[in-house]
Structures are given as structure tokens and as C-alpha cells.
Homo-oligomer: 398 residues x 4
């Protein structure tokens, strides 16, 4: 066993961290108090610098302008970028585009790839249109939106919600029932719908945790009203959507968990720094002298370190045996890391007292927005049941 | 021992609940997605109905137009009102006014009371100006804002923050050092500063959890710049501010804890209703059939019931032996109830999945805004240390 | 609402505590290191003193020599006695006899009562024979031991286990299937089997947590091999066993939960005293100065106080509306109090370090033996599911 | 990074597991109900087989008859052996001998090694004599036992306790103050005291969790009463004991944590198997169908996997950068793994219900005996404070 990352990735992470600290973090305060629109223009400047530095799209194929890192290495990058909510966007590897690009790369026809890969890897936004309000994506057999074939066209009808990054996207990957009478996992297909297609209507940006966000950060209610696209916009084969959605999740999980651990690292640092500077008693007694705070720091340190190793291990497993074989690990890191995330951020906020409630630190943002970590891509409880089923079938052997 | 509330208070609570459900709850969706300004006018209509029904200001003195309930009974009312973020405002017993009114009633001169009590009990807003950014109210010996006597005037200078309800308030109760050289607990006095006094400047509404709120819901940064008020605006005696602030906390704690338990009751109901209606499998398997969800419901039910009893017990103790004698109980319910609150709301949100993240239910509001419950009026950890000190001094006897 | 216990019960508790501290606690060290046999003789002397002081059998009917306390008052007594593992025995109100006496008093014929009540209330031991190894008492429909009627006799056959207090008992109350073809809750009856009846065989004392205990503290494997008793030994009516067993649980729950809270009170005191005396640094820094320990003390103090109130509230409810109506409360205190118990004892042990692992304090005993609290009388999880079912049926209303 | 153990160690672990399952596990029931004495003779036969198979003393130097595995590989072996309380003894790598052998190998003179290494590696028992009742080993500056030089002899006086494996040991390594006036970390030395030396008195085996165990499993109170040994029995240099004790802890921590994870693996398997076979409802509903149990299984699976990786990572770090540089990791795995251990065993026991309380499964043994894991080698809280201190000094960076 060898726990040493390669010298190359350590060097890359160092260079990425440098740009993040110097160019992205200074934009964070405006993002927190004024929203994404306020930082979009300067962020685009940063994106240019990142491309110039050869650090763009670390996870995407080299042939389309990315760096082609493997999952372990991109995990380490994602951890660095996770320190700031703007990190992944600045370096061209933000969700949901990352997953869409992977999916298109795996399943697209040469024509589809030629049309969309350069634009998407280049930084234009896409969305993944799956979840319905009354029918969660956790169990796609309940999804009701349809794509009916008429001649050489698909006609889409139905309502979707929580569609991240929908407003202004250049292309949408839509999961729709093409054969509602088929077996539960063969009903749905993925259809490519260009932004602006008539009948593809973004109804509104859902207010989430007090905000209707915009752009990449918007979660939208979307309606398809006799929306027509060519039959050739089918991605992969008919009925394959369930399997494509599953395939998206493995690498995406690594991306998310390592991002969460970047959030944890940042939160722990903020917690330590605030506790070290805050005077809570005379003469000059600092909050960091309290054993309660120290216990929190120590528990965070161990929890983060262990969560990091199980995530990197899972990345290594996916590379080695494939996402299917590693699906138990992929489920485990979901709920394991999400718990470390919530606990670490919560305690960091608590150490900051009323300051922690404000948008003068990033902690209130992490606290409320990343609450979604226990929900998206399948609630933790769904993953726990999936893991338990497998462990039980093995008589408890891991 | 007799755990039966009086018939009178049960009847009152029933009538209050009726108005809350019929007139206040329908305003909640607009409050959640558009803010307090969007509901202020209709809420004022409700306030009129509440007054007409004789249910106004349940905790305040009868002589000024309140109902004069004791702490146990007002606790039960606060629990009902806590079900909706607008409840206390609609019935004229919202913080921080409630505490300010109590303080003024206890310490004010006849002239001060004649001037402010009718307006404040009547529903005009006040604020309590204590906390400073670098010097939390948890330890007032560090507060730096001063009130210097010049002839028959006070001259106030300094910066405060997290001043709830500051914009548009008719009067402020300001804690300021009148004798910085005195002993730590005798340095501060409370000065009454009418809204609009020159030099009393609300600099901005601090963005909290993504919002710079308004009105009653704003937490403000406030500056005193040679702000002058008459010497007779001193509340109580010089150097008495620390003790006044302490005295504010006992009844206020009952108010808050019972309010939190109202939030818990509402959250548990939303959790049960959503779990009962949400289909998660075929044929028609509901989320409520999962034992995981059931365990959460059962743990919430017991936790809420126990927390409710310890809070009502504390109210009873304050009435019987006084807040000073009951100070250990007052500290215990702070952290005990805040934990029940956070856990219950968190799980209710989780049951709602992505819907729980949106502002289409009140849970996302409770989740982010009530995170402050573990911080305001002294962080939980401060209360724990205070309790432990006393328990240790008693050799562990409760 | 009135949270004040009566003057009479406070006086009684004071007198009981005095005897407990003076006469029972000194026997504890021998009990812990040498077992029950080593203290049985001196305990019998104490029992005599208790009877002489008029404090015997606080919960049992006055007509049979008990004190006839109601459930709230006996709860307060049980809390005092719970401080020492020998307390309930010394005062004649130990399980399982307490429940057996209640059951006999409620369901027995005059002849049955005349025969057994004086002996049992007087202090002779009985047992309750329900659980089977492969068929837990939690769901009696699975119990397989039978009582077949032959003429005017019952003939019992089958195996039972975890029969507390079986060796040397004067009488056993045996749950056996008298009509296996009846509905699930009407299959079982309770048969009275005197100790020493041929065919009633105590096979062995099951080793539990490292010990095969003796006497009252033994949990036994019992076999019925054509064991014959008169038909008149039927308690209550045929098929009524399920309901009798349920009826036993309400008052028994109060007894147990208040006993656990007595354990908690004792553990908290030991924790405080050890932490106050143990030097962990120079110069003379005590363990009690660590905020970690202080947080534990404060959490225990609040948790115990709240658990105590919900238990007394449940006792009051049973007295007022009956065990059936209060069954949700009865279930809630089971898992709520058992959790407080386990956490408090665990932390008290931790504070004692290696000393806490030894039998030189009672904590190691509490830690291992009271682990059963989460299991007996139905595992916590079963109670949680029962509570959730009712709460869900009420739409989440408590 | 490469998470793949070597083919050699996987093969070795397979062979070790085979002997463990075939020859050691069958002895466990007698050990649990009758004690170590009942299995000592058959265990010695197993030890012979192990030696014959070339699997003896996996962690010890090849030159003395061991296998010389590195820390990562021995960690994997320790995990396998941890499945049964008798595993390490059967394979000649049990504590406290393992640590003593390491210490002697590092610090002993050629003569000392020649005298003791063959016997100790060969399987004879030794003990490490540090802790005092009133002065824990966690802070050796408080230890009071002295070794006074008289001519060419040491004269030892003082009381020790919790001396594991003292009765019948062939040699003791005794920590005693040789210069009480020196700096805190230079006061103590380690003296080699052969078993049977006059004045080296094992006073009694402390009853721990209900038992005064014997032999390897005894924790003893030991007295030195003018016990004389030659000056040449000094191990290492005078004043070096503190550093030797520290050096013992790094590799010992790997040994213990991986052993705990072996316990967890066994407990999880028992939990799954019992839950799969236990019927809790009709028709044939198994406990394993409950989502509560499934959530426990899933949380255990992830927790064990992550804890395993952080432990193996720490082993790798010790090998790579040394125990001193890795001391933060060594502290972190202590409390991180101990928590996983306690939670996993507790839940496995709960799933077994009353059976889990008995000695018919190994779980009750794990539950009570391994409670010590959070205490020995420094309580978890001490390690947390040490970690926090370092993390704070790094500004929160891990």
C-alpha cells in the first residue's frame, strides 16, 4: 500500500491553490452578499487566467481542452477547489456540467460530441433535467415527463424541478419516458435539448434557503410544452437513461465528496483562526483555550482525515475495478462524508457565534446551501439501505 | 404534583391557535418568498383582530393593555405562536420588545413608563442595543461603547451590531459604559434613546444567512456618534445594566424555549404529513413506512415532550422562587431545548428531500434562521459551563 | 400546573435515603466483588430495620403490609433506591416481584391472594416466566411453551430463558399457550406454579456479562417437563396473559425509569467527586477544570432533569387516565430514559479512567448490567415503532 | 496512491484466518464462560501448530523467531487476530508482551537481549509496570514508585496497579523514579525485574467488570517492597523511561486499532447473521428487514472502512517518517477507532437482544472489556487535546 500522491498532482494542486487564493477568494465576499451576478464578470477574467496557466477543466478529456486527470488526482483537485464556492466554476469543472460532459463523452455520437463537447468543456453551461417535484430522481421509475416519437422528432411534455443551472444554458440533457410500458429501468431515455428550443420553458428559479439564485446557482422549475427536437438528439440508446444516470454518479460522487472535504478543511481553518483570536475572558483568555473547542477541532481533524482516505480509496477502486464493482464504496462515501461535512461546518459556525450567522464569513453559506449534500444524488438513507442490502447478502463481510 | 394546565389557559390557547391558523399562517408563504415587507400590511389587520378578540400582548401588564399571564401560561401561548415565524408579532409579544417592556416595567420611572409603555405594549417597535462585534454580550465587561455625562446630558459614542429590529424603532435601550473604571459588572448602564435622535445611526442591516432582512427581522450595525439624550433617560441606576440584562433573560428564556418547541411541533407535523403522503416505492409504499423515519418521529416525540416539561417546570420555578434561584434551570433549558430544536428541524427537512431545501415549506426558514438559537443570549457552551460550575460546587447533586 | 411533590413524600424519601446511605451502601463493595450471596445475610438484617421503620414495600397494598404509595410517589422512592443495586431489595419492592404482586393483586382469586400475597409482599421471591430463547417476549404470539389441560390439572411443557430470580423462588407466574389455535393475543394464559413443583426445572443460571449470578440476580434457563399444577392455578381468565403482561408494564416502567434516574444521579455525583479530586496537571490542576468534563456534567444535569419530569408526568398520567390511555408516554420514557442512563453512566466511567473499569466503584456494574435497560420489556426500537405509529395516525400531533 | 496490500500479506492473512477459525474460535465459548484457565492447555497446542506453520510472532524480529512484518502488514494480521479475544495470544503477538519486546529490542544491551528475547518472543509472559492508582500513566511526572541506587543494585519501593499479565510473568519492565528531582520527563527509568524476585509482590488481581481475571488477562495491584535487582538491569539510560514509553505507543497503537477493527468486523458479521435469522413478525419477517437495523449496518460498514484506512495510513506514515513525525495520526486513530468500536459493538449487542447480554456470544465480552479502549494508553480526551494543540498551532491546516 502506498498513500503518497504523485509529485505531479501535488505540484498541480499547489499551482491551483495559488490561483484560488489570489484570484478567486477575493471575489467571495461579493458573491456572499450580492450574489453570483456581481462576480460573474471578474470570474470570467479568472477563467481566462486559468486557461492560460494550463489548468483548465482538470477532469475533462485532453482532446477537448481538458487535463485528463484520473479520478484520484481530480479528487485532490476538487478538494482544493471546494475551499471556495466559486472554485470549480473558475477552473471549468463545476457540476452539473462535469457530469454532463462525462455522459456525452461516453454515450454521444461523433456528431453530438462534435457539436457540444468543445462548447461545454470550453465553459458554456448545460443542465441535467431529471427530478420531478412529486417524483424524485432517487427512483426514476416514477418520473412522468414523456418524449413521444413523432416521425423523426421527439415531442417532450411534462414538468421538472430542481434543475440546476437551467437559465441561460446552451444545452439540456433531459430524462423522459420514451416507453412508459417498458420495465421500470427501461422506460426512460436521455434527449438532448438545445437551450432556447421552443417549448423548453424555464418557469422560475425556485427560492432555496431564502433565495431564488441565478445562473449556475439557480435551481429551476422547468416545463416542456410540446417541445420538439430531432430524433437524432437521442443520447445513447432508447431506454438507457437509468443506466446513464447511474454511470454519472460514480465520478460525480468523488467530485462532490472531495469538494465537501475542501469545505471542511476551510471551515476547520476558519474555526481555528477565529478561536485563536477571539478573547473570551480576562486576561486575554482566547476561545481556543477551551477544551470544548479543542475537542471539536480534534474530532474534525480525525473525521476529515478518515473521510478523505475512504473517498480517495473509492476513487482508486473506480479506476481499478469500475464504478459498478465499486458501487458499495460509492454509496458509503455519500453518507459518511456528508455527515462529516455537516458536523464540521456546524461547529465552525458555532465557534464564530453571531458572526457565523452573517454573510461576512462563508460559513453561513456552507451551512445552509450544503445542507443539500445529504439530499441530492439520493438521500443518505437510500444509500444506507442499498449498502446494508449488499452487506447483508455477504453475511456481514465487508 | 399536578401536570394539568388550567382550563382558562387551555381555552385561551385554543382561541389563539384558531386565529393563528386562520389569519396568520396564510401569510407565511409570502413572508418566506418575499420577505416581511410583503406581509406587514395584512399582518397589521390581523393585529387589529387580535386586539378586538382580547388576546393582545398575553405576557404584558393588564394596566397597559396586555393580558398579564404568568410565565407558565405565557409559555403555553408562546408554544402555540411559535408554530409560525409571524405568530408572536401578530399577537404583540415578539422579541426584543417583550424583554424591553419587562425591563422598562421593572426599572422605569413613572415618567419613562408613561412615555413608552403604552406605545410599546401597543405594538410599536423597540430595540435592545448591547452586543458589539468584537465584544459579545456574553461577557459585557468587554463592551466598549460609552455614555459620558456632560451636564444634564448623556453623550453616546461607539459601535454596536446584531441589533435586532433597529430600523424604524421608536425607542432603543442602549447598554453603554458610564464608568469604565468601575468593577466589571458595574461599568455599564442602560440609556433610553428615542428613535431618530441625531447621532443614533443605523448603518446597515447585516446580511444573515443570505439576507439583509428588514424591520423586526433586521439585525443591524448601529453607530453612536456624539448622540445626546437627557440625563433623565437613564433607566434604573447607573452601573445597573448588567443586572438588568440578566433579569431580562429568565422570562425571555421561557418565551424562546416554548417558541422553539412550537417550531418543533410544527416540524414534526410537517414531517409526519409529508412522510405519509410521499410515495417511495411500488405499490404505493409511503416514506412513513420506513422504520428509519419512524425512529426519527418517535425520538422527536419523546424529546419534545421532555423538553416541554423541563421548560414549563423552569417557568414554574421562576414564578415560585425567582429567576436568580432558578438560574441553573434557566441555563439548562437553553442548551437542552436548542438541541431538540436543531435535531427535529433537521430531520423534518431531510424527510422533505429537495422540497425541504426550498422556501415552499417553512422548514428551510427554521433550519437556517433558528440556527441562532444555539448562539444568542449566550452560546450553549457558556451556559453549560455555568451549569457545571454550580453542579460541581454541589458535589454533583441536582 | 404544580411541580411540587407533597411534603409527605419528601419526608419519606428523606428517611429512606438515610437508611440506604447508612445501612445498604456499606454492603455494596462486597456485593460488587463477591456477589449477592456475600451480602444476603446482612441485607436481611436491613430488611428487618426497614420493616420496623414502617418503610417496607412502599408500592404495595397497605392491607398486605405495604405503604400503598401512588405511582408518582413510588417513582420518587424508586429514584432514591436506584442509587444502589441493592436498594429495591432492601425495601421490598424489587423486580420482578413488584410486577408479580401487582398482577396477582389485580387478577388473583381471593384464595390465590390469600396464599401468596402475604408471602410475596413479605419479601419472599417469585419469578415471571415468559421469554423464550428463540421467541422473545416482545411478541408473545411466537411463544411455544404449552399448558395443556388434563382433567383438573394443567400440564406444562417447554423451555424458557432469562427468567430472573428463578432459583429458590417460592412461586412462578408462567406464561404458556393454553390455546395455540386462538388469535395471536388470546393464545397465552398465566399459570401459577409453586417453587419446587416436580417438572419445574431450573436448568442453569445463564452467564450474563461474564457471570452466572445467583438468587434475585440470576437469569435462568428453565424447563417444564410435564409439570402438573391444579387447574385452579390459572391466574385471571384463559387467554388473558397478553393483556396481563401489558398491564404489568405501565407501573413497572415508572419503577424502572425512576430507578435508572437514581443510577444517573449517583453516577453524576461520582463523576463530579472524582473529577474534583483527581489531579491531572501541575500545579494541582483538577480534572474538573476541563471544559470537556464540564460539558458532560451540564449535559447530564439537563438530560436527567428532563427525563425525570417526563417520567413523573407519565406516572401522573397513568394515575389519571390509566395505563392504556398513557401507553404512548409509557413507551416514550423507555427509550428516552434508557439513552440518558447509558450516556451518563458511560461518561461517569470515562471520568474515572481505569478505576472506572474496576469493581472498586459501582460504575462498572451499572455500565454492564444496566445495558439491559435498552433490551428488557421490549427493545427500544420496538417502542419507537409503536410510538411512531400512533404519532403518524394523529398526523404528527403530540 | 495505491491501496492494494501485497499478495504476500493477503496470503499470510488467509492462512492465519484459517487457523484462527479452525483451532482458536472453538475455544472461545469455554473462555467466555469458564475463563482463560479453561483454555490455556488447548491454546498451547494451537501455539505449537502456529509455530509449525511458520506464522508465529508476525511482528517480531526474524532473528528471534518472528516473521518481521512491517507495521502495515502486521496491522492487517492484527485485524484478523482481533476477531477472537484469544487470537493474538495464539499467534504470539499479544499485548503487553509485544510492546515489551519492541522496547527491549530497541533499548536493551546485548546481554539483556540474549537473556530475555528468546524467551519472550518464544511465548513466555512479561508485564509493563507503569500505572499507579493515584497517578495515571497518562502523565508520568506524577508517578511515585522509586528505584534508589545502592551500590551496584537498584532498590525498588512503591505501589502500582492495572499491571496486565503480572501473575506468573517471567520478567517485568518497571517504570520507577530514579531521580525525582530531575525535570518532569527525566525522572523515570525502566528497570528489568525478573518474575519471582523477592520484594516484587503481586498483591491481587483487580476485579474488572465483575471479574478478577487470571494470567494474561489479569490486571494486578503490585507492590515493590525493597525489591533489589542488579544495577545492570537498567534498560537504556537513566531518565529515559518517558521516551521509551512513548516509543512503545506508536506501533502499539496500530496493533490495538487494527485489533479493534477485527472486533468490529466480527461484530458486524454477528449482527448481520442474527438479524437475518431472527423472526420478529409473521409471516416470517426477519429483523434484517427493518430499516433501523439496516441503517446501523450501513453506518458500521462505512465507519469501519474509513477507520481501517486511517489506521493503515498511520502505519504507513510511521514506517515512512517515524512515530515522532506521525504522532498526530497516532493520536487521532486512538479516539477515532475507539468510537467506531464502541458504537459497532453496542449496536451488534442490541440486535442480539437478551442473547447479546449473555456469554453465549462474544459480544458481551467485547462490550464490557473493550470499554477500556477509550481509557488505556491515555484517555481519548487527552489525545484530542494533544491533536487540537498541534492543529491550532498550524492555523487549522491538517
Amino acid at each position: 500500500m502506498d498513500f503518497q500522491p504523485s509529485a505531479r498532482i501535488l505540484d498541480l494542486c499547489g499551482r491551483i491553490r495559488e490561483i484560488l487564493d489570489r484570484d478567486v477568494l477575493p471575489l467571495e465576499p461579493d458573491f456572499l452578499t450580492k450574489g453570483f451576478d456581481a462576480v460573474k464578470a471578474p470570474l470570467d477574467v479568472v477563467r481566462g487566467k486559468v486557461k492560460a496557466a494550463g489548468l483548465w477543466a482538470p477532469n475533462h478529456p485532453v482532446e477537448y481542452g481538458g487535463m485528463g486527470l484520473d479520478l484520484v488526482d481530480h479528487g485532490l483537485v476538487s478538494e482544493v477547489l471546494g475551499r471556495c464556492p466559486l472554485g470549480h466554476y473558475a477552473f471549468g469543472c463545476q457540476a452539473p456540467d462535469a457530469g454532463n460532459i462525462e455522459m456525452l463523452h461516453l454515450y454521444g455520437t461523433p456528431e453530438q460530441k462534435a457539436e457540444w463537447m468543445p462548447r461545454m468543456v470550453g465553459g458554456e453551461r448545460s443542465c441535467f433535467v431529471m427530478t420531478e417535484r412529486d417524483n424524485s430522481g432517487a427512483n426514476p421509475i416514477f418520473l412522468k415527463t414523456t418524449a413521444r416519437r413523432e416521425g423523426d422528432e421527439w415531442v417532450l411534455n411534462g414538468n421538472k424541478w430542481f434543475i440546476t443551472s437551467a437559465p441561460g444554458c446552451v444545452v439540456a440533457f433531459v430524462m423522459a419516458a420514451t416507453d412508459p410500458s417498458a420495465g421500470p429501468h427501461a422506460r426512460q431515455s436521455v434527449i438532448i435539448v438545445p437551450g432556447g428550443t421552443p417549448g423548453f420553458i424555464v418557469e422560475r428559479n425556485t427560492p432555496v434557503m431564502g433565495h431564488a439564485n441565478t445562473d449556475l446557482f439557480a435551481h429551476c422549475e422547468v416545463r416542456f410544452d410540446n417541445c420538439r427536437v430531432p430524433y437524432s438528439n437521442l443520447l445513447g440508446r432508447e431506454g438507457q437513461a437509468f443506466h446513464m444516470a447511474q454511470a454519472r454518479l460514480g465520478p460525480g460522487r468523488i467530485h462532490h465528496c472531495m469538494r465537501w472535504l475542501g469545505i471542511c478543511a476551510r471551515s476547520l481553518e476558519l474555526m481555528c483562526q477565529h478561536a485563536s483570536s477571539r478573547v473570551i475572558g480576562e486576561p486575554d483568555r482566547r476561545m481556543a483555550e477551551s477544551d470544548i473547542i479543542r475537542a471539536w477541532i480534534a474530532e474534525a481533524a480525525a473525521g476529515i482525515t478518515a473521510a478523505r482516505l475512504i473517498t480517495l480509496y473509492t476513487a482508486w477502486r473506480i479506476e481499478k475495478v469500475g464504478a459498478k464493482e465499486a458501487r458499495n464504496d460509492i454509496s458509503m462515501i455519500k453518507y459518511h462524508c456528508a455527515e462529516v461535512l455537516q458536523k464540521t461546518v456546524d461547529r465552525a459556525l458555532q465557534v464564530h457565534g453571531s458572526l457565523g450567522m452573517t454573510d461576512y464569513t462563508v460559513l453561513a453559506y456552507f451551512y445552509r446551501e450544503e445542507r443539500a449534500s445529504r439530499i441530492y444524488d439520493g438521500p443518505d438513507e437510500v444509500h444506507k439501505l442499498a449498502v446494508a442490502k449488499r452487506v447483508l447478502s455477504q453475511g456481514g463481510k465487508l
